[in-house]
């Protein structure tokens, strides 16, 4: 193996190791912070059922005792991690069901929503960005920029409510939340790429647009777009919480919302760990792939 390749693969391995280490540390820290925040939140040690006038003193005491369990949050967290290694994520306080089965039941819907939302947003953002770069018409460029700016100004919850009102799929709401973020970067990157001297020359020589795009533009913009892809996954997952909660979709986002309202420590801690894991994996993957692409270009 040539020396420069050996060096590249060793750098790649180092990068992957660094990302893995950061991922584990962040997930552990994120889970712990979530647990601490829930534990310190006002109303953690109470249960709405305490107000049921039909319950006698013994039953109210039993409810209070059940809520008052984890006094030392650090030892609770360590014990939870130990159990998690053996596949036991604990039981949800508010829903009374194993957290693992709740996540298993709800994750597919969220994954579907997020995946569809990302596909829709990326397709539309790239289509508008490319058409603006090809046409180079100020009016068209302004129109697409205004469109994406409009969606950027609308809060996620409003888009979710509009999708409920007009009976639109939740994935579309997620797509509209992600779209302006992707479009802004994609448009700028593509416009910049199409202004590069060798691409202007290629166009002047009459090369087909598809050849210019795939041979000359994509290699230039791919690493940066990959970084945006990682960020867009984060935005889509973040958007899934209000969209699912407001549209009444039974995914992990809705579960997180319910868990937060009910101060459901085991559920909220595991949902935080899961969301942190997915977003970090997306970001790290984008970074590693970008690194490979840059190495190949070099």
């Amino acid at each position: 193996m040539p020396r420069h390749r050996q060096f590249a693969s060793s750098a790649l391995l180092q990068k992957i190791a660094r990302h893995s280490l950061a991922l584990v540390a962040t997930v552990l820290l994120g889970g712990f912070l979530a647990a601490v925040l829930v534990r310190l939140a006002p109303g953690f040690e109470v249960d709405e059922r305490q107000l049921d006038p039909r319950l006698n003193s013994e039953s109210v005491h039993a409810l209070v005792q059940a809520r008052a369990a984890p006094h030392n949050i650090f030892s609770f967290y360590v014990r939870s991690l130990e159990r998690a290694i053996h596949g036991d994520l604990g039981t949800s306080i508010s829903l009374g069901q194993p957290v693992s089965s709740l996540l298993r039941e709800r994750a597919p819907l969220t994954l579907r929503l997020v995946a569809l939302g990302l596909i829709l947003s990326w397709t539309s953002a790239m289509a508008l960005g490319l058409s603006a770069a090809w046409l180079r018409t100020t009016a068209y460029d302004a129109l697409t920029t205004v469109l994406s700016g409009t969606f950027l100004c609308i809060p996620a919850a409003v888009l979710a409510l509009l999708s409920v009102l007009w009976n639109l799929p939740g994935a579309l709401a997620i797509a509209l939340i992600v779209f302006p973020q992707v479009h802004r970067y994609a448009r700028n990157l593509l416009a910049k790429a199409y202004n590069l001297p060798h691409i202007i020359t290629a166009r002047a020589k009459g090369l087909s647009e598809s050849r210019i795009l795939f041979w000359h533009v994509v290699p230039v913009v791919a690493p940066q777009l990959l970084a945006v892809a990682g960020v867009s996954v984060n935005i889509a997952i973040g958007a899934a919480i209000p969209v699912e909660a407001l549209c009444g979709l039974a995914g992990v986002g809705q579960l997180a919302w319910q868990a937060a309202l009910a101060r459901d420590l085991p559920l909220l801690m595991n949902v935080t760990i899961l969301v942190t894991l997915v977003t970090l994996l997306a970001n790290s993957s984008a970074d590693v792939i970008g690194h490979v692409l840059r190495s190949q270009q070099a």
Partner: protein, 550 residues
């Protein structure tokens, strides 16, 4: 609560059997159609004895078979699985004569053994369910005796007030069915459960009831319960024709629906629920001593009550779909309401101010001050997100401002609110509602007993701190240990009088029982008692095309 392993098995078993049950359901279809409505939360359990949340209560009502049932329309107790019953004079024993020839949904025959099994499970001290606790009036063991295959007696260690009516909440379990709590005696049975999405109920082919023409009940083939916490989405879906019923309809939505389709909305009049406000009277609370003195003064509380315009609250906040409250029992509770109580505390700003001045308060430059010169300022906390309570609090703020009292309104999320009310006592006044599910005052026992945690204005008193609280304790215990309905009524009438006089709770309004029923649902007759619209679910039918409202 569904245990870990049981839950997993339950969901899998439900899914595997769903297709078979649905196909069997089609074969046995009565042509009554499918009824659709929303549950506002995830059902926490399908075990009828552990039920405590609204969603599980609805499922228990639709699937559970009970010995006796309170007719939601007449409020009278009617025989169901028991064809007759008798309560002993000391209110400790009840004897049932059961119907014969009845089977659970899976074909397991129903017998006295099932009643014994159910009562034993229900009275397990570790259960901690509201239904079980309602029967626990004293220490000791509950004895059950099978007299014959259709006769059974149950003896409680202490008198249980309203003993027979409490069996309305007890769905009978099978002692022998391998399906455990999924074998039911009610009109419907659970066929499928998609967590977070839907619960599908199909007609129980072994349901024992028939109509006057001898046709087997229920008419409906199935009921689809969509889990939908968002009431706005529920309303939209109703307008689109995707759901058929809405219980406890919002008054704003009631008016909107009334404008486009007046035939679908129903106002059954005042419900059992009340909206109320109370002051913190806890001695150990971290409030300044002068504020504790105000709040513990009955004259101060009465004056505040008098200064609140309840008619305006009903008219403005609830758009006329509420009635000014009189006391702890709503006039909708026909038997237990004390008709001698005059109308709600008459609104009189001048009388309120005069009463306060009689207690040494002075109005100086538009600000009310107590005899030590302390400005009368307090905050009302209520739960955030409840627009009616937020509006009520704002109107109370305006009313009290007219007599120089400054009120701050603070909204908190529910867990924070409960923490302040029950643990830290860091509050001055609370505005909340009381949801009454039953008619019997015994269901409020833990609110009135001074030693109880739910004695909200001053919980867990070691001994009653006032003479009137001691009298309420005595009266509540007296009525709870009597089987004589008239004696119980007399005692509870007096409790209502004391409460109206001493004002530990300032009762504000009784909200009306509003509901919506789609035009394609036949046989519906919404009532004030829960479950308002589907209390007669076994006699409902869905016919015709579902149409969107425009």
């Amino acid at each position: 609560m569904v245990t870990k392993s049981r839950n997993a098995i339950l969901v899998s078993a439900l899914r595997v059997s769903a297709l078979c049950i649905v196909l069997a359901g089609f074969a046995l279809a009565q042509g009554g159609g499918e009824l659709r409505f929303c549950l506002h939360s995830e059902p926490k359990t399908f075990d009828p004895l552990k039920v405590e949340d609204d969603a599980s209560v609805s499922i228990r009502y639709l699937t559970g078979g009970v010995l006796l049932r309170i007719n939601r329309q007449t409020q009278a107790l009617e025989p169901e699985l028991a064809q007759s019953w008798k309560v002993s004079k000391d209110a400790k024993q009840i004897t049932f004569k059961l119907r014969s020839g009845i089977s659970f949904s899976d074909g397991t025959p129903f017998s006295a053994e099932d009643v014994v099994y159910t009562v034993r499970q229900l009275m397990d001290p570790a259960l901690h369910s509201p239904t079980g606790d309602s029967f626990r009036s004293g220490p000791g063991i509950v004895e059950t005796r099978i007299i014959s295959p259709t006769d059974i007696s149950i003896t409680f260690p202490a008198p249980v007030a309203g003993l027979d009516r409490q069996f309305d909440q007890v769905a009978i379990l099978s002692a022998h069915s391998p399906k455990k709590e999924m074998a039911v005696l009610g009109p419907f049975m659970v066929a499928d459960y998609k967590p977070g999405a839907t619960v599908l109920l199909v007609r129980n082919p072994n349901y024992w009831k028939t109509d006057a023409q001898g046709k087997k009940l229920p008419y409906l083939d199935s009921i689809r319960l969509d889990i939908q916490p968002n009431r706005d989405v529920e309303m939209l879906r109703f307008k689109r024709g995707e759901v058929d019923l809405i219980n406890s309809l919002d008054s704003e939505y009631f008016d909107k629906l009334w404008q486009i389709a007046p035939q679908v909305v129903h106002d059954a009049g005042p419900s059992l629920d009340s909206e109320q406000m109370w002051f913190n009277q806890v001695e150990k609370s971290p409030l300044p001593a002068y504020k504790k003195t105000w709040f513990r003064s009955a004259s101060f509380r009465r004056a505040i009550s008098e200064a609140i315009n309840r008619d305006d609250l009903s008219r403005v906040v609830f758009r006329g779909h509420a009635q000014p409250a009189v006391g702890p029992i709503s006039p909708a509770n026909k038997f237990w309401f004390n008709a001698k109580l005059s109308a709600a505390a008459a609104y009189s700003r001048d009388a309120a101010l005069k009463a306060l001045q009689g207690e040494g308060f002075q109005l100086q430059n538009g600000t009310l001050k107590d005899k030590d010169g302390n400005e009368v300022v307090f905050s009302i906390i209520t739960n955030s997100g409840n627009k009616y309570r937020e509006r009520m609090a704002t109107m109370i703020q305006e009313d009290l401002g007219k007599i120089g009292i400054k009120v701050n309104v603070v909204t908190l999320d529910f867990p924070s609110l409960i923490e302040r009310m029950t643990q830290t006592f860091e509050y001055e006044a609370v505005l909340l509602g009381l949801t009454n599910t039953g008619l019997d005052p015994n269901e409020q026992m833990n609110v009135w007993l001074s030693s109880s945690e739910n004695h909200q204005w001053n919980p867990s008193e070691k001994t009653p701190e006032t003479a009137w609280e001691a009298e309420i304790d005595k009266l509540m215990r007296e009525q709870a240990s009597s089987a004589d309905a008239r004696a119980r009524k007399k005692a509870f009438d007096r409790v209502q009088e004391i409460v109206v006089d001493e004002v530990p709770f300032i009762y504000l309004v009784n909200r009306n029982a509003l509901s919506a029923v789609a035009a394609d649902v036949q046989g519906a007759s919404p009532v004030i008692l829960s479950p308002q619209t589907f209390w007669n679910a076994d006699r409902l039918e869905v016919k015709g095309e579902r149409l969107a409202l425009k």
